[in-house]
Every structure is written in C-alpha cells, then in structure tokens.
C-alpha cells in the first residue's frame, strides 16, 4: 500500500504512510540503527522490577529524587556526547566538574561572591579547561584518551589543593542551594509543562508545513500527531505526579512542584539538540565524526570543531559540578569523583550514543542518565550495598557497549553502517 510521489526536481520517492513509516523504523532497528530503543525498553523493565520489589520506588518523593540525583550525570553526559560524536573521549569530565564546583563554592563561601558572579566564574573555568584539552588533542595530536587521563589525575589534585588538602566547604547561598534541591510552584510547573507541549507541537507542525509547502515529502500526519500526543501524555502525567504533596509530614515542610533542575535539563536538552540538529556547526560535528577526511575536503575547520567539542564538554561538566555542589550544599575532594565519570559515559552510551563517533543525540544523555539513576536509586531502595551497585552498573555499561558494537557489526553487514 505504498504510493509513490514526485518530490523536488522530479525524483520519484515513496510517499510514507503511517504503516510504512513504522515498517521503515523497524527495518532500521533490525539493520542495527537502534537509537534510544534499548534504553527506553531497559528503563521500563528496570522501573517495573524495582516498582514491584519496593512500593516506595513509584512514590512521588522518589520520582522527584531521581531528577535531582541524576542531574550531574545528565549534564556531564550531554557534554560528553559532543566529545563522543567525534570518536574522542573525555575522562577528565568528572573531576573537571568537581574543580568547577569547588570554584563556585570557594567564591560563594570564602570570598563572599554572589551566585550571579560565582556561577559564571565556574562556567568560564569549565570553558578554559575544555579549551586547553581540545588544543592538546587537536593541535598537538595527542590521543584524547591520554590527554584526559592525565587531566583526570591532575584535576583530582587541583581539587585537593583548592580545598586545602581535603576540607569540606559548605555553600549557604539560598538561590544557589535551591537550584538542585527546591521545586517550582505548582502554577509554574503547569505553565512550563504547557509551554513545553505547545512549543514542541508548534515546532513539529511548522516543520511539516514548510516542507509540504515546498512539495517535499513529509512524515505522515499520524506519526507527527502520535509524537506530539506521546510527549504531551508523558509531560502531563509527570507534572500531575510531581505537583502532588510528597512530603512525609506536610505540616512541617510542604514538598510539591516540579524540581527546579527539570526545566534546566530541559533548556539544555533543547539548546544542544537545536545546535546539533539545526545549525551548520552541529552538521559539521557529525561530519567530522563520520569521516574526518571528507569533512576536511569540504572545507570544514576540523581542528576548530575538535577543540569546540571539548569546550562544550567541559562547560557542561561545569554545570554538572554546580548542580552537584548545589545538591549537597557543599563541596568535598570527592565531588565529581568515584563513579560520576563512568556513570556519565555510561549514560551517553546506554542512551544510544556510539563510542565510535558520528552517532548520537542529546536526548541519549537524558534517557541514559535516567537508566543509570533508576539502577542506582532502585538498588539503594532494595538495600544492596555499593559493591553490588557498582558491579551491576558496570555490567549494564558493558551490555550497552556490546549492543553498540554488535549494532555496528550488524549495520555493516546489512550495508547500513
């Protein structure tokens, strides 16, 4: 039941219907282009397992906690996706976030700066770190693995030095601590939810209309409506849950509304998705990741792109660091240490970003970060110790990397690299 249509210039193409669209999607999945599918399935399965094992898993309180807990990993993973798209790696992102977190905490507490100067200072620190890393990789040609491994060690030291050998610095700036602890009011929660839904619907329909006007092939209306409807249901349900009272004792401290960190995650999700998908810069990042030589011949400044992804990577690590310090209202020598980096790489890879470069989307960081957060949170609720959690998370990362490698092989076999 496929009908052909004539698109721009008279090239005959198949006009997709809802059925053929789904069929095509399934064909791509079978051909090794899995995207976020395994992560979404994993998220559902894991949530069901933990939800059945512990009632508290599906409580509103725990649901809100998941966002706050995963924020640092999600932000770092967003930056890492840029680095991974070029087939590079940034092992120092964890401690870079720690260093930037320390910078903001020291400026706030020891130097009495306010949040609106301290936060930009930390972000600039992140940008400088990324620029230096990128310069070493792009201009000197040192493998990013080595550069960032060295930086991983060095930043750990910088963090210790900044904190005067290992003291803990608390932050008492109310606005700063609210970032990753407090919630929006119920009214603002709903306003943002509606803005998000309407914005997404407008963007989708507008893109479709402008393509149709030029006589180009558009996605079938059914699929577009399904996408908008799906997102709307998701956002409305989440907002309903999050705007319920979830405090154990509401009389003392009422707890309701969407966590403030959610719109911040949403903002960066939209921003970087736009940059990667709709700007020439984003296109060039994919091109360099896919075929560096082709990109060079097309006149793309490969070195500058390479430096820029490290800058974005460390910038997002700085945001992650700020969120971590805000969450704990303090910074210590282990902020951004231990499992944070591996969780972030894991989030990106589990979400569907390829370690081989050229394939990945920002949404991968959010979905992969959710999977990691659910594992961490669910296993804590079930009373497993840290050792078991590390083992399970490690295994899941290994599974995700295997899926990536196998999908690549399958894709090569079906001529769909």
């Amino acid at each position: 039941m496929t009908t052909t249509t004539t698109t721009a210039g008279g090239v005959k193409v198949v006009k997709p219907t809802v059925a053929s669209y789904i069929n095509d999607y399934w064909g791509r999945v079978r051909g090794g282009d899995l995207g976020t599918l395994p992560a979404i399935l994993g998220l559902i399965v894991l949530s069901l397992i933990f939800g059945i094992a512990r009632d508290t898993f599906f409580s509103g309180l725990n649901f809100a906690n998941l966002f706050n807990q995963s924020a640092q990993v999600v932000f770092i993973a967003m930056g890492l996706i840029f680095v991974l798209l070029l087939g590079e790696i940034d092992l120092s992102a964890g401690f870079a976030s720690g260093v930037c977190g320390a910078v903001v905490a020291i400026l706030l507490t020891n130097h009495g700066w306010d949040w609106y100067t301290a936060i930009p200072a930390a972000l600039v620190t992140g940008v400088v770190i990324g620029f230096v890393l990128g310069l070493l990789v792009a201009k000197l040609g040192i493998p990013s693995f080595v550069v960032t491994l060295a930086a991983f060690l060095a930043f750990q030291g910088v963090l210790l030095v900044l904190l005067g050998g290992g003291t803990n610095i608390s932050t008492r700036n109310e606005f700063f601590n609210a970032l990753n602890n407090n919630n929006l009011s119920v009214a603002w929660s709903w306003i943002l939810a509606i803005v998000a839904i309407v914005g997404y619907a407008a963007a989708q329909l507008n893109a479709m209309r402008s393509r149709a006007k030029r006589g180009l092939v558009t996605d079938p209306m059914g699929i577009v409506l399904m996408r908008i409807g799906g997102l709307a249901v998701l956002i409305v349900v989440a907002t309903v849950v999050l705007t319920q009272e979830r405090a154990i004792n509401p009389a003392i401290n009422s707890l309701k509304g969407v966590p403030i960190v959610v719109p911040i995650i949403g903002f960066f999700l939209v921003l970087w998705t736009f940059v990667l998908g709709r700007t020439a810069y984003g296109r060039h990042v994919y091109a360099v990741g896919g075929n560096t030589e082709a990109a060079r011949r097309a006149g793309i400044p490969v070195d500058r792109i390479r430096i820029s992804v490290f800058v974005i990577g460390s910038f997002m690590a700085a945001i992650g660091g700020i969120m971590a310090v805000s969450r704990a209202s303090s910074v210590d020598p282990n902020t951004g240490g231990s499992n944070i980096l591996l969780y972030s790489v894991g989030a990106a890879v589990i979400g569907g970003t390829s370690l081989f470069g050229g394939k990945g989307k920002i949404i991968n960081a959010v979905i992969g970060g959710a999977v990691i957060a659910v594992i961490d949170n669910g296993m804590t609720l079930m009373g497993f110790n840290s050792g078991t959690k590390f083992i399970v998370t490690g295994l899941i990362l290994l599974v995700a990397a295997s899926v990536d490698a196998l999908a690549r092989r399958r894709a090569a076999a079906t001529g769909n690299r």
């Binding site: 721009a8 075929n291 050229g358």
Partner: protein
Amino acid sequence: MAATPLLELNGINKGFGPVQVLHDVNLSVYPGEVTALVGDNGAGKSTMVKCISGIYQIDSGTVTFEGNQVAIHGPSDASALGIEVVYQDLALCDNLDVVQNMFLGREKKRGIVLDEPTMEQMAGDALASLSVRTLKSLRQLVASLSGGQRQTVAIAKAVLWNSKVVILDEPTAALGVAQTAQVLELVRRLADNGLGVVLISHNMNDVFAVSDRIAALYLGRMAAQVKTTDVTHSQVVELITGGRSGNIGLPPEKPADFGGDVVDITPGGDK
C-alpha cells in the same frame, strides 16, 4: 565543437623537494567534452588534479580559466571558479544523508538555522538534472546506498554548485559492470549539459566509451593530447607505457635531454 578551452594549463611544473613530478605540462579542457586523463601509476595524474583543485601550489606555469589567467591558492579558490573534484574515495560521510552530504561545508542557512527545505529541493533538482531516479529517499543515509549510488551522489554534489569543470578520479574503479555503465552514462550527461569533464581512468574501455579527447601523461610529461577518434586502443597504451606511439607523443630521448653532461656508465668506459 567549442574552439576555446574552458580550462587551460600551460607549462605547469611541480616538484616536491628534489623530485620533479610534473614537467612543463599542458592540458586543455573544452566545454561539452570529456577529456580522459590517462597515465601509468606515478605518471603524475593525481598531482596534476591536486594542482588544479588547489590542494598543491604549482611551482611555475599558468592556469587560464574561461580566457582569464587565474591563480588557485586553495580548494576554495577552485570551487569559487567552478572547478569540482570527485575523489576516488568519494569523501562522503556515511552517517549523514544524501542532502546533508551534498551540501557539506556549504550549507544553506536562514539566520543561523539550516534551511533544510531549500537544500532538499536543490539536491533534488541536481539529481534530476542528471536523470537520477533511483534513490528511495533524499533523506536516506549514504551508508545504505550502493557503490554506484554513492558515486552518483558524489557527482551530483559536484554539479550542484553550477560548476563548469568537473574532475572525476577513477569513478568506476570499484564498481560492477551494470553500475559502471550507469556512471559512464552520467559522465557523458555531464558533458552534454555543457560542462568540461576530466575523467581519470585506467580502464581503456571506459576511456574509449565516453571521452572526446585523451591526454596521456608519461613520467610527469604530457605525452600527447589527441582526439579519441584519431587514435586506436593500442596507440593509447603505447603512449601510456612508452610516452610515444609512431609520430605522436614525446620525441625520442636524446642524450642532450639530460643536460648535456653525459655520464658514461658503460662498463669499463671509465678507464
């Protein structure tokens, strides 16, 4: 037949350190014609293409384009003139789709946003002008295309920019019989659309199938540039392997060619 060449190279010299790769090479490319550039491995074909496309700078000699002498200092100069090269390895990104590849590095924008509909339309027009009707979708990833389709995309990419000269480096080397025929047909169509086409090939069948002129390089010298109809298969092979064939080609080598100082290397001649 157009009398003035579109692109004319005169007395081009190019060396890398002590190694002189091109010696006083001349080449004329006429609009509406396919000029086949042939030569053995190491004859200097690739170097010559890279000189035209601006990847290498020429040491001496002149390049004339549409009657005006031009200097090509980089790939962007060449593309600004309307010279496009389709490299042997195609230089396509597997992880991007057809339209994205065709506009790579030269994306159309509205403000800072990519203007996808315009690009898709232009890509479709370019493919249609080459009578390509075999793609399932313009949004197909290049990874999922066959070798011939990739070649088609690479060639369409070259004609997208109202280019006047298209240089194809061994476009049929990796293709099967049917796909080779398709690509050769496409090459012919480029010339019929009024472009000057330079076809680099090792395959004599391809050369004789589509070319109007044959330029044979031999050890960095232009052995001959002749009309395809004036020569036979074996004459071209002789030009490639020996630099001359009968009364065409390079003059026979004389000792004077080596600068006059003839070193006698005859065994025992030094006594």
